[in-house]
């Protein structure tokens, strides 16, 4: 297998008695998008700050582009960049002035053209001569993203990059990121609380909780670790009859008063339940089924129910 772009080994960070990141190890390869997920305080931002060198790890090793990060930080940072929903730029400066500063900082050749291209790509070219403080939060997020792409990075660290963007712009940004990974081989570490976005974008996902990896895999693999499906039936029978039937099936259900029932059950139970309902002549007029999603995994982890999500465990 090719050498990873980023390799994190046994990273640890403690603040007094509180362990923010514990024994964290992972790799990101060229052209890969790795999602770093977890509830607030899970250790995602601490990890990104250690990868930027603005926070010193207590233990562990970070290897980027096959170089030790601690010894070659400046060289590595020339080919790395980041964006975060929590950073900003000097408000009184124009958008292009802010970007020119970072173009100088990253020694970008032909900076003017590069800035113009990025502003067009992110649909903000009309903001070029506007003071940063006058922009909406969505526009500011896009300017920060333009900064992150200025130096054609080979490694991008994106901490909630689409927070405050409307769905259309978020979609556009995701397309840009996909293009960057496929065409330029950029490796991306991506944190977000938008599970649908992570599911659509990331090749692989790591779930953190209390600084530890508690699950990892592709979004589909992780979602499949949740055995429960949601079956939604719309029926014409008296609700009491349906209630008695489902109680006998030993499944969880929520009987609405609109002729609908939401049943939580394992995938393998579905055919048998429907067969029996048909045999008993239930008048079912619609069947909907919801597969487990990454969001369900996130919710389980956030609520502390995660023994089944130990890395590498199977269903």
């Amino acid at each position: 297998m090719a050498t990873p772009i980023l390799s994190v080994k046994n990273l640890q960070k403690k603040f007094g008695q509180y362990t923010a990141v514990e024994n964290l190890s992972f790799d990101i390869h060229q052209g890969e998008i790795l999602g770093l997920l977890g509830p607030n305080g899970a250790g995602k931002t601490t990890t990104i700050q250690m990868l930027l060198g603005v926070m010193e790890p207590d233990r562990g090793e970070i290897i980027v582009f096959n170089q030790n990060f601690k010894k070659h930080r400046q060289e590595i940072m020339r080919k790395t960049n980041f964006s975060s929903a929590y950073i900003s730029f000097p408000g009184s400066l124009y958008v292009d002035e802010n970007l020119k500063i970072f173009a100088k900082l990253y020694n970008v050749k032909n900076a003017k053209q590069k800035i113009d291209d990025l502003l067009v790509m992110l649909d903000i070219s009309e903001l070029k001569k506007k003071a940063f403080y006058t922009l909406s939060s969505g526009q500011k997020t896009r300017v920060v993203l333009a900064k992150a792409l200025l130096n054609n990075p080979k490694l991008l660290l994106l901490d909630e990059p689409t927070a405050s963007l409307d769905p259309e712009i978020s979609h556009k940004i995701r397309n840009i990121l996909r293009h960057l990974t496929k065409e330029n081989g950029v490796a991306i570490l991506y944190t977000s609380h938008n599970m649908a976005e992570v599911e659509a974008l990331c090749d692989r996902v790591i779930f953190l909780n209390h600084g530890k990896i508690i699950a990892q895999g592709t979004p589909a693999e992780l979602a499949h670790r949740i055995p429960e499906y949601q079956l939604i039936l719309t029926y014409l029978d008296p609700p009491e009859r349906m209630r008695r039937f489902l109680a006998r099936q030993m499944v969880e259900f929520d009987l609405g008063d609109n002729g609908q029932v939401k049943i939580t059950l394992k995938e393998r139970q579905i055919p048998e339940l429907l067969r029996q309902a048909n045999q008993l002549d239930f008048k079912i007029i619609n069947i909907d089924m919801e597969k487990p999603k990454l969001e369900d995994v996130f919710l389980k982890i956030s609520r502390g129910c995660h023994p089944e999500f130990i890395s590498g465990s199977s269903r």
Partner: protein, 262 residues
């Protein structure tokens, strides 16, 4: 150290200066007010029968030279605080920029601004009071350099304290130079101070500059040994100031405080 990164930080503070009211106020408004105030005071004392040239030179010379230290210190501290206020600190320190490059850029920036302010105040004092700052001839250069470097040192110390202990210590940026002014013998000789304050004054390079300035005005001579002592103390304090900043920056990285500062 790479020049393009130093250049980037300098341009970060030059862009938009003409649109930023507080920067224009810092560059021109306060120096003008100081000059007018002290100029009128010198004029009043002169009319009251004091030796005309010396008093004007004492007060305006001291005021213009003290302005160098204040500007130099505040340019360093406030440039840093502007990054904190605009939540730009992570962008900057999360880039390839190193701490020595950041400090060098801040020093050069303050040098550029001081040249502008010094030229402006020199011209204004000549126009308003016919006082020529170049009266100090080539002695002006060591005075100027000493105050510039000591301003940097105080600026670095203030910056390091704010970096480590947070924005509640912003007042340090304005209060540190005010604290050393009374013992630096800016407007009066060191001998005026009580004994223990004289000892503190002798440990500050600024004292030798202002005593030297009065010596030049009255005798047209300058003690080289005092000047050398001022440079020696300045060098020592600058090294200690830079070390203090590096230690505080390391502590901030260890404790993960850089993002919490904003």
């Amino acid at each position: 150290m790479k020049f393009h990164r130093i250049n980037a930080i300098i341009w970060r503070h030059i862009y938009g200066t003409h649109r930023t009211l507080h920067r224009l106020v810092d560059l021109f408004y306060w120096p003008t007010l100081d000059l007018v105030l002290w100029g009128f005071m010198a004029t009043y004392f002169t009319r009251a029968g004091q030796s005309a040239f010396n008093l004007m030179a004492f007060l305006l010379g001291a005021m213009i030279l003290w302005g160098i230290l204040i500007r130099s210190q505040q340019d360093v501290s406030i440039s840093f605080m502007e990054e904190v206020w605009s939540r730009n600190l992570l962008n900057i320190f999360g880039s390839p920029l190193s701490v020595p490059e950041f400090l060098t850029a801040t020093f050069l920036l303050s040098l550029i601004r001081i040249i502008i302010v010094f030229a402006f105040m020199g011209l204004l004092s000549w126009l308003l009071y016919a006082f020529n700052i170049l009266t100090f001839s080539f002695y002006l250069i060591p005075f100027w350099l000493n105050l510039l470097i000591f301003g940097w040192t105080i600026g670095i110390v203030a910056m390091a304290i704010i970096l480590r202990f947070g924005q509640r210590f912003n007042f340090i940026a304005w209060s540190l130079p005010v604290l050393i002014q009374p013992v630096s013998a800016v407007f009066y000789p060191l001998s005026v101070l009580p004994g223990f304050l004289q000892k503190i004054g002798l440990a500050l390079p600024t004292t030798y500059v202002f005593e030297g300035m009065r010596q030049v005005i009255t005798t047209h001579q300058l003690s080289i040994s005092h000047l050398a002592l001022a440079f020696g103390l300045n060098l020592l304090y600058l090294i200690l100031g830079c070390l203090f900043f590096v230690i505080m920056y390391r502590s901030v990285r260890k404790k993960g405080l850089l993002s919490k500062l904003e």
